[in-house]
C-alpha cells in the first residue's frame, strides 16, 4: 500500500476501520469502511460519532464511491472521508470535489503529476461537495 494522502487540518485517523456489518452490530467504533456495493445511507444515523469513513474502490472504473461521498457530505458528515483502493492520479481532483479529503491508493501516486492535476482546472461548472464556486456563480454573483 502506498502512502496516505491527506488534505485535512487535523491529522489522519489512525484506528483501523471496521466493516459496515460490524459497525451496525455493536459498536462504539469511530471508523468504518464501506465496500463499493454498500449503502452509505446506512451510516446517516451515526454521522455525529464517526471520525473516519473509508470508501473502497475495488477498480478505478467503479464509480459508486463518488455518489457515496456526496451523500455523506450532503447529510452533514464533517469527519475524514477516505478513498482507498484503485485510486488514480487523474481521479483525485474529481474525488476532492465529491468530498473526499484523504486517499489511500494501492499503488504509489506520482506527486508531481498529482499536484499539477489538482491545480489544473481553475473553473468548474457545477456546485458539488467542495467549496469551489461554479462558473454560473462567477457569472451572476
Amino acid at each position: 500500500m502506498a502512502d496516505l494522502l491527506h488534505y485535512r487540518e487535523d491529522g489522519p485517523h489512525e484506528e483501523p476501520a471496521v466493516t459496515l456489518d460490524a459497525f451496525l452490530d455493536q459498536s462504539n467504533a469511530t471508523a468504518v469502511r464501506l465496500e463499493s456495493d454498500e449503502d452509505a445511507r446506512a451510516l446517516l444515523p451515526y454521522l455525529d460519532r464517526l471520525t473516519l469513513i473509508e470508501i473502497s474502490f475495488p477498480t478505478f472504473k467503479d464509480g459508486r464511491g463518488y455518489s457515496a461521498a456526496r451523500i455523506l457530505r450532503e447529510a452533514g458528515y464533517i469527519g475524514e472521508l477516505r478513498a482507498q483502493g484503485d485510486v488514480l492520479v487523474d481521479q483525485i481532483p474529481l474525488m476532492r470535489r465529491c468530498g473526499f479529503d484523504s486517499f489511500h491508493p494501492q499503488a504509489e501516486v506520482d506527486r508531481k503529476a498529482l499536484a499539477a492535476a489538482l491545480e489544473r482546472q481553475e473553473y468548474v461548472y457545477q456546485r458539488a461537495a467542495d467549496a469551489r464556486q461554479p462558473v454560473w456563480k462567477l457569472r451572476h454573483g
Binding site: D62, G63, S67, R70, Q121, Y123, Y125
Partner: protein, 543 residues
C-alpha cells in the same frame, strides 16, 4: 449560437494542457497503455484496427463556418483529407497519430471546440434536433436546454465513472428527428400553462438489448431540471449493474426495477438534492438563451422558387423542408452519394459547406444523426445558387430520407469491435437503387446498417435494418424490418436466416417489391409492414 466566455475557454484550454501532459507521460512510458486508456477515452481517442481515431464533439450538432473550416484543416493536416460525421452529430478522424493529438485539441480550442466526453463511461455529447430554431413545429429552441446540460455534464465530479456511457437527447417538436426515445434519457421540451418544462423519458437505447424509453415524469420545470437529472444519474450510478458491461446501461436498470420504481427512487433522491439549492439561477439560462435568439431574418420575402431547372426541382422536393420563417427554407446536404461512404466529407467539401453557411445561412450548420449536414436558414431565393455550388462539390444528392440515405457504422473497415463490413454493403444497396425515380417511388425508407450487435448504425431503428455478424469466419448479414427512431418509435424484428453481401441486397429488393405491390394510398414502407405484418415479408424473402 453559443459562444464561449473566458470561463468556458479556460476550462477547454486547461483540458488541452492536461491531455498534452498525459500523452507525454504515455509516450515516455510513465503510463502503460492500460493506465492511459481511460484518460484518452475521456478525450475521444480510440485505438482502432489500423490507427488512432479521434472523435470531436459538435454539441447538439450545431457549428459555424469557422469551426467547419477548422475541421477541414485538421482533416488535411493530421488525417488523410477527410472526416466522418457520426450518428451522435459528431465528427471522427480515422487516421490520427497519438503524438499529434494535443496539437489537434489545441487547434480545436481556438474555435471553441473539443473532444471532451466523446467516449468513456460518462455523459456523452448532448444531441438534439438538427432543425432546432428553424422547425415550424417546435415550441421553443431546444438548444439552450442542451447547452445548460452540456455545461452541467462537463467534468461532472460524480458522474465520470458511471457503469456505462450515457446519452441524452433534447427535442422540442412533435416530430422526433433525434431518435429521442432511444436514448438513456430523452427530453422533450413542452409547454404547460405558458411555461416551458421537460418531459422526461428514461431507459431507451439500442446496442445488444434494444429498448424504447419509458416516460418517468410528465413535466419538470426549468428550476428543477438539473437536480432532477442529477437524481436520475445518481440512482443509476449507485444501482446500475457493474458486473457485466453488456447489462450496464440504464435501460437494464429501468427494466429490472420497472419504470415506476425507478421514477420513485429518482423522486426520493430529487427531494434531497432540490433542498440543497445547488443549481444555477434562471439568469444563467437566460444568458445562454440569448445566444440562440433567432437570426435577423428578413421579412416580406417571397416564397416563390424558380423551378425551371428540373434537376434542381428534384433536389428541392427531396432535400428542402419548411422553415418557420416565411421566405426561408431548411436545406439538407446529403453526405450519401451513391457508391460513397455514408457520412464522409472531404476537407474541400467541408470548406464548401462552411462558405455556403457563411454566405447563405447566417453562418450556421447542423450535423444530423443521419450523418448529413444542414443549412438551417436559407432564403428561398438563394436555394438555386446553393444547389449549384453543392452540385459542383458533389454534394447535391437528392436522397434525403430515401433508401440510399443510409446510416452506416464504420464497420470492419475501421472498427476493432466490428464483425462485418458495413460500408461495402451500403455502397451496393445505394448502387442497386441508384435510379432517382425508383428511389422516389419507394418514398421514405430509412435503412440503417450496423457491423456488429453494438448497433452504432442504428439497425434496430431502421424501417429496414441490417446487422452484420460473423458466422463461422464469414461475414453474414441479418435483415430486420419495422423499426423507427422517429415519433412513431419501434424496434425492428429479424426476418430470419442471414445472407451474404449480395444476398442481402437481393433480399431488400424482394421486400421493397412486396411493398410496392401491397401498399395503399399514402403508405410508407414501414406503414405497409405494420399493416400486413412479418409473415408476408418472410414469404417474399424465403418462400
Amino acid at each position: 449560437m453559443y459562444r464561449y466566455d473566458q470561463y468556458d475557454q479556460s476550462i477547454v484550454d486547461a483540458r488541452v494542457e492536461e491531455f498534452r501532459d498525459q500523452v507525454a507521460r504515455r509516450l515516455s512510458g510513465a503510463l502503460t497503455e492500460d493506465q492511459f486508456k481511460p484518460l484518452r477515452l475521456m478525450n475521444g481517442l480510440y485505438l482502432q484496427l489500423h490507427a488512432y481515431m479521434l472523435r470531436v464533439a459538435v454539441p447538439y450538432g450545431t457549428l459555424n463556418g469557422r469551426q467547419m473550416r477548422m475541421l477541414a484543416s485538421i482533416a488535411r493536416k493530421y488525417d488523410r483529407g477527410y472526416g466522418h460525421f457520426t450518428t451522435r452529430q459528431n465528427i471522427q478522424f480515422n487516421w490520427i497519430e497519438l503524438a499529434d493529438t494535443p496539437d489537434i485539441l489545441a487547434d480545436l480550442s481556438t474555435v471553441e471546440m473539443h473532444a471532451i466526453q466523446t467516449s468513456g463511461n460518462c455523459i456523452r455529447n448532448i444531441s438534439s434536433d438538427q432543425f432546432a430554431g428553424a422547425a415550424a413545429d417546435e415550441v421553443t429552441d431546444p438548444r439552450p436546454w442542451a447547452e445548460l446540460l452540456r455545461q452541467w455534464s462537463s467534468f461532472h465530479p460524480e458522474f465520470t465513472y458511471l457503469p456505462r456511457k450515457f446519452k441524452f437527447a433534447v427535442i422540442a417538436s412533435d416530430e422526433d428527428r433525434a431518435a429521442m426515445r432511444l436514448h438513456d434519457i430523452g427530453i422533450r421540451i413542452v409547454e404547460r400553462d405558458g411555461e416551458h418544462g421537460a418531459r422526461i423519458f428514461a431507459g431507451g437505447g439500442m446496442g445488444r438489448t434494444p429498448m424504447v424509453s419509458h416516460e418517468i415524469k410528465e413535466f419538470v420545470p426549468l428550476s428543477d431540471l438539473l437536480p432532477y437529472l442529477e437524481a436520475c444519474l445518481r440512482v443509476y450510478n449507485r444501482y446500475g449493474r457493474r458486473d457485466n458491461m453488456y447489462k450496464a446501461r440504464i435501460k437494464i436498470l429501468v427494466n429490472d426495477l420497472g419504470a415506476e420504481e425507478y421514477a420513485r427512487q429518482v423522486e426520493e433522491e430529487f427531494a434531497g438534492l432540490k433542498a440543497l439549492d445547488l443549481d444555477p439561477p434562471k439568469a444563467e439560462f437566460d444568458r445562454i438563451s440569448a445566444y440562440f435568439a433567432p437570426p435577423a431574418f428578413e421579412t416580406s420575402l417571397s416564397d416563390d422558387i424558380d423551378r425551371r431547372d428540373p434537376d434542381f426541382a428534384v433536389w428541392l422536393d427531396q432535400n428542402v423542408r419548411t422553415h418557420k420563417q416565411p421566405g426561408y427554407a431548411i436545406a439538407t446536404i446529403s453526405l450519401k452519394p451513391v457508391g460513397g461512404i455514408p457520412g464522409d466529407a472531404t476537407a474541400e467539401q467541408m470548406e464548401v459547406m462552411a462558405a455556403l453557411a457563411e454566405r447563405y445561412s447566417f453562418d450556421e450548420l447542423r450535423v444530423t444523426h443521419s450523418q448529413n449536414v444542414v443549412l438551417p436558414h436559407v432564403r428561398k431565393a438563394d436555394l438555386y445558387a446553393v444547389w449549384q455550388t453543392l452540385r459542383e462539390a458533389g454534394l447535391a444528392e437528392a436522397n434525403l430520407d430515401l433508401i440510399s440515405d443510409i446510416i452506416a457504422c464504420p464497420g470492419l473497415d475501421y472498427c476493432s469491435l466490428a464483425n462485418a463490413r458495413s460500408i461495402p454493403v451500403a455502397q451496393k444497396i445505394a448502387t442497386r437503387f441508384a435510379d432517382q425515380k425508383r428511389q422516389k417511388e419507394l418514398g421514405e425508407l430509412k435503412l440503417k446498417i450496423s457491423g456488429c450487435i453494438n448497433a452504432c448504425g442504428h439497425h434496430h431503428a431502421g424501417h429496414i435494418g441490417i446487422l452484420g455478424v460473423d458466422r463461422k469466419g464469414t461475414e453474414n448479414y441479418q435483415l430486420l424490418l419495422g423499426g423507427s427512431g422517429a415519433e412513431d418509435v419501434s424496434l425492428a424484428k429479424i426476418t430470419g436466416p442471414g445472407f451474404d453481401e449480395d444476398g442481402i441486397v437481393d433480399a431488400i429488393e424482394k421486400v421493397t417489391d412486396l411493398y410496392l405491390e401491397q401498399r395503399t394510398e399514402g403508405e410508407r414502407f414501414v406503414d405497409t409492414y405494420r399493416r400486413i405484418g412479418m409473415p408476408a415479408f418472410k414469404e417474399a424473402i424465403y418462400g
